[in-house]
Subunit: 494 residues, 2 copies
């Protein structure tokens, strides 16, 4: 039976909890958002003792279904003040699931003067260690040292110097199969939340655990997993590269790669950092296109350097520091790819999503991708409220499974793909869910998140975009032209 | 006939405008808030070309009534995003009124690369001058140079390096009779708005203008002004000293005075800076109580120093930079004096005022001051909604006259004082207003401001306070215990 592991970070103690029946069908984002909704005071300061960080494998984690190893990290966002779920690949999710762990909940807050700690989870149990020797180290070095100490192949989830300093653009990094911090729960500053709990790293060692979680119907699962395979894509870093290149005019791929690596090492959201570097260029601090100066400035994050404190708090913050007006951020968060004037469905998703301006909140752009050449739906207002709503519901449901969010593409395009997803969950848990149940799950997640945000005073009056989106965009001559009322319609019934 | 002077800061041009009939009875805050409400897009970025800075003498400015020389500066606040009116003494208001100027409206926005300019207003007309020689200078040096250039006794309104850099704690300083920048429209970062318009200083030379504005009923005015004299107090700097001392544990009066002078010179709100220095101490950047290190850090503002960029953006910003949770700020602005757990009327005013957490929004505390020893009204919930509402209405009306806001004390306590205020306005303009009309004016101002804020998406859901006000306060064992609904009741009908 899977259990919930609660870590009290103030007392450095833990306890195991049976999964309440109401949580049985929840995993990933469904579970992080429900736990946050039920246990965190929405009005609390995100860095206060009242906030919690929840780590939850998806419903299909620990199975052999392709791309099922996404881990959800959830909490009240230090960057936006709203609820946040960050979704990350890597090895930790599968290992937690194989250890029978449905969620790890970080609670309480150590005193300001306390040092960082390290938590190791293995079949032998849970251990707390002091982590002073890792303080201030980047994620690359930290993970390398932890493999040396605890054995090659352990899963590691860690923060860099940015998270330790509670900077609001800080990420949580997860080890890839080679032990590198190449995967990030990047958005919303969840690394700062982990930093406020003074957890430098979580080590997950599943040696001795079963290779797969028990499946209620192994044959049925195998059949469903095979049917699914052809629809999936592997991870890609489109958003990272776009953010670091298009916002900065840095053209040399090596410099982009170095900036990306530095973000992973310091524990910073590369989308937020790409936009922030552009803001520093707009403000005259870095010459446009200079990768070398950008690298020099980014290296200040995590050191005792006030530029690092500014940059590490992201694009909106840096724009305010420099007295700039035209900053591509909404609700405190850097804008990801796709200009919403020309991709109106995307714009509506980011204006209405309880996740804020998140690139994974629902790929409304998919509708156009999948109907290549069919027209210009994304340029017109008509129909885009539905184009935004349905992908948001589908994405929330997929985020509960631990599958890669890009699975939303086939699921929205092909009824067989959705059925296949349902078959996998049914075979895994011995259930008989229908596609209607999965849609209901997606709706329930969005409802939990919207309810939290309402009480966190993050209401639809904040669901707006920077003023410059009223300006004309060539070559289609489009502007952002949705009213508050139209934006509110997207998720009105949730 | 008084006129409105519009300065186009992008083109460095100006034009005079007759006062529309609807504006005849408006002055000071009534006029700044009405103009902002009617002419500024509430959704605009505060530093964008769409925002305007309005400077308006009060209705009684240019007369010989005591303490009638307060100037209102209004705009969309760069610090909070809400409408803001800052109220400042000094010599400029009287001089503008004697020149027949009802308001100066700064419009448009120069290009980023343009230098600062200087505007001189005199009976001969309006002139624009380049101001590159004054860029980066403090307000003390700037005002001294302008007296040297344009003659001793001219009125000067200027910004320091903080305003030039558009830092959101920047003030607008006004010369006192000795030509020192000792008066500040401090709150809400209106200095950053003036900086975005690239106006370093406004020089007002009233040589040759009449000594007093024409009075419809000079004898009646003289009688009313004499009756009034006994109720007024002179300006005091209670908030400044409290902010710089109580937040920092700096005990040496000379150090407090030096910090205060530095705020005036750099053009910074001393309330915001007192709290910000306390936040830097909480974060370990300055030792508690160290005036010398505080002075050293404050001097970084306005220089090309990233600490200056952090500090000059105020307390909430600095708290985020340092990853701190317990920051005494609400809606982005530092909290002024009076702990609202023990002064509940004050708390309601600051939670509900369209001005944000402003110390001049209405002295609800006056009710207790004036009824010394009468009990503990401020500790209980009962009655405080009215204690908050009426002073807010009275203060708004007084802010329209150009009288010092502390006039609200006698006006709330003594029916004769309100009648005296009405008599002054009537004698000045040949009107026959009653006390009911003055109350209606106060209500109209608050209505204009609330309407603007609603469209600026600064709604009552933001009218809340930091979480730590739920903690118990000794010795009375009180907490902040008003609900959102109760806070909304304060100005519900406006």
């Amino acid at each position: 039976m899977a259990r919930i592991l609660r870590l009290n970070m103030a007392r450095q103690s833990y306890h195991w909890e049976e999964v309440p029946p109401a949580y049985t069908g929840l995993g990933g984002r469904a579970l992080t958002s429900r736990l946050i909704r039920e246990e965190v005071d929405p009005s609390c300061h995100p860095l206060s003792t009242a906030n919690k960080l929840v780590l939850a494998p998806g419903l299909l984690a620990g199975t052999f279904a392709a791309n099922s190893g996404h881990l959800s990290a959830g909490g009240k966002s230090p960057l936006t003040g709203a609820i946040k779920e960050g979704n990350v690949g890597g090895t930790v999710s599968q290992k937690l699931a194989r250890l029978g762990i449905k969620a790890v909940v970080l609670e309480g807050k150590p005193r300001q003067a306390d040092g960082c700690c390290l938590v190791k989870i293995s079949p032998e149990g849970v251990e707390f260690f002091p982590a002073s020797e890792y303080e201030g180290l980047g994620n690359y070095r930290t993970m390398a040292l932890l493999w040396k100490r605890f054995g090659r192949g352990v899963g590691v989830l860690s923060i860099g110097p940015a998270g330790e300093k509670c900077l609001t653009a800080a990420s949580i990094q997860v080890s890839d199969p080679a032990g590198r911090p190449a995967r990030a729960a990047g958005r919303g500053g969840l690394g700062a939340l982990m930093g406020s709990k003074k957890l430098k790293a979580l080590v997950v060692d599943d040696k001795g655990a079963p290779a797969s979680v028990p499946l209620a119907d192994p044959e049925g699962f195998k059949a469903a997993a095979r049917a699914k395979g052809k629809y999936l894509t592997s991870g890609y870093e489109y958003e990272t590269h776009r953010a670091l290149e298009a916002n900065t005019r840095i053209r040399h791929p090596d410099e982009i790669a170095q900036l990306d690596r530095l973000c992973d090492d310091l524990g910073l959201d590369p989308i937020e950092m790409g936009v922030t570097l552009g803001v520093l260029m707009e403000g005259g601090v870095i010459p446009w296109g200079s990768g070398s100066v950008a690298l020099k400035m980014l290296k200040k994050v995590g050191k005792n350097d006030p530029w690092g404190l500014i940059i590490g708090n992201g694009s909106a913050f840096t724009g305010q520091a420099l007295g700039l007006e035209r900053v591509p951020a909404a609700k405190g968060e850097a804008l990801p790819a796709c200009d919403r004037r020309a991709e109106k469905g995307v714009g509506l998703t980011r204006a209405s999503s309880p996740m804020g301006d998140d690139h994974t909140a629902g790929y409304a752009v998919a509708v156009n991708f999948l109907q290549c050449g069919c027209g210009d739906e994304s340029l017109k207002k008509e129909g885009n409220i539905e184009f935004s709503r349905n992908p948001q519901i589908a994405t929330a449901a997929i985020d509960a499974t631990g599958l890669c969010p890009s699975v939303a593409f086939p699921v929205l395009d092909n009824p067989e793909a959705l059925q296949c997803l349902v078959d996998l969950i049914n075979a895994c848990y011995g259930l008989s869910l229908t596609t209607v149940d999965v849609t209901a799950l997606g709706r329930q997640i969005l409802h939990d998140e919207k309810s939290f945000n309402r009480e966190a005073r993050f209401t639809r009056t904040q669901d707006h975009l920077p003023g410059f989106f009223k300006e004309n965009l060539k070559p289609h001559n489009v502007t952002w032209d949705f009213t508050d009322e139209e934006i509110a319609q997207v998720l009105a019934d949730l």
